[in-house]
Amino acid sequence: MTKTEENKQGFLNLNLRTKTLLVTVIALIILVSVFLSNFLIDHQAVLTSNFYNINQAPSFEHLFGTDWMGRDMFMRTLLGLGISIGVGAFASVISTVVAILLGVFSSVNTLVDEVVTAIIDLFGSIPHILLIILVSLAFGGGYYGVIMAVGLTHWTPLARVLRAEIKKINTSEYIKLSNEFGKSKLWIAKKHIFPLIISQIIVGVILMFPHAIMHEASISFLGFGLPAHEPAIGIILAESMKYLSMGYWWLAFYPGLSLLLLVLLFDLIGENVHRLLDPQSAQE
């Protein structure tokens, strides 16, 4: 390779990196502002009924229209998305801790590994929605029940990935060679294993968000989730089903679309972060 070719490639790489970074930052700003807007919005004002404004179609004044109680759907949707992000964040934290513990545990010996695999398989084999509803009921339902249920059931994919990844790294030839170079177990864990799984963990956490958000919305929609007075998207959607036949399409359309966009944003961030953290796959 000549010098100029190399420079050019370096430039293109940097460009791609910058672009990815930019997209990620913009997506993050949107998410954070949606979340923060919840603290600035006067919940009381948004959620009290206003009977002069009932069932208005989307306009400049009410971007997403209003519902049968005259509440602004844009504000309700914002609050709903805020709840979704909150639930997603909490679920991700709990699930990540569980996944890391199990993943690291499984590398201790084959017996522990088998137990861990059995636990992962057990949780993975129960239909997820059902599992969430059961755990939620076990925690007494309501806000607390939903958060615990969504949090305690989303660690299986990440735990599985971490277990497999740690196992793969541990049996690789370069780890064996590292042993022959006289490196300690701790050194190997710190220098070889941790840097390889940290990107999996970060990406896993981000990609857990959309799942957790969708599941919370689903069970709220089904009526097993958050209490009916919360402005959660699932509840908004369930309510608006009753009004769809009357032609009030905006009640379901905009909140649903917003939820979809939120989920896609997290996916986008997850993918981009994956590319940023993983220069190898980014070059392929």
């Binding site: 370069y174 170079f181 070889h192 070059q283």
Partner: protein
């Protein structure tokens, strides 16, 4: 003088016995060729000698000492260098995991400094193999086990690499066990050639 000794070594994958009662000895001033049929267990022996496989029976010693932790004085150079390098490490880190040779040694092996900033996937097999060899030439190494290390190289590079490796090995008094299917190569560079069938039952 350092002596590498393998006594009554038995090893098999599962119930499939590969090495039966193997006995072998060499010293650090020798370059020995190891020859044998494909699938007869040469690579397996190399892994057993260098600690990559450690659930074997028998004794492998350097000056009567078994290797227990720390830097292994018997180092393996692998046929596939990319497998013994962390794919996410830059070449400088890969090399430094063992040691950092001085400039003259880097030049001897034709290693360019600009390669240091690259990942293993960004170098050719031959270039990676030079790093692999240099890594094993850590001053603490007493024996090098070279398992078909030049199979993937062109004739010119092959000659270059062997010349460099043997020059350094002779100078530092490192014993080399050369595994190859290339009888001409073994005849040319080795003091002696052993057949795997002759050192096992």
């Amino acid at each position: 003088m350092d002596t590498l000794k393998a006594e009554n070594v038995n090893f098999g994958y599962g119930s499939h016995q590969i090495l039966k009662n193997l006995n072998f000895e060499m010293n650090n001033n020798q370059v020995i060729g190891l020859f044998g049929d494909s699938g007869s267990g040469k690579s397996t022996l190399c892994k057993v000698l260098t600690g990559f496989i450690n659930d074997y029976e028998g004794n492998i010693t350097v000056n009567g000492q078994k290797h227990k932790g720390g830097y292994n004085p018997i180092q393996l150079i692998y046929q596939h260098p990319e497998k013994v390098m962390n794919p996410r490490w830059k070449m400088k880190d890969v090399l430094e995991e063992s040691w950092m040779p001085d400039d003259s040694l880097l030049d001897e092996f034709g290693i360019k400094r600009e390669w240091f900033g690259r990942y293993p996937s960004e170098l050719s097999g031959g270039e990676l193999q030079r790093f692999s060899i240099l890594r094993s030439l850590n001053p603490k190494t007493k024996f090098i086990i070279a398992d078909e290390i030049s199979t993937m190289l062109d004739a010119v590079t092959q000659v270059q690499i062997w010349e460099s490796l043997l020059t350094v090995a002779r100078k530092n008094e490192v014993g080399v066990l050369v595994v190859s299917h290339d009888k001409n190569l073994l005849n040319r560079i080795c003091d002696d050639i052993v057949y795997l069938a002759d050192i096992t039952d």
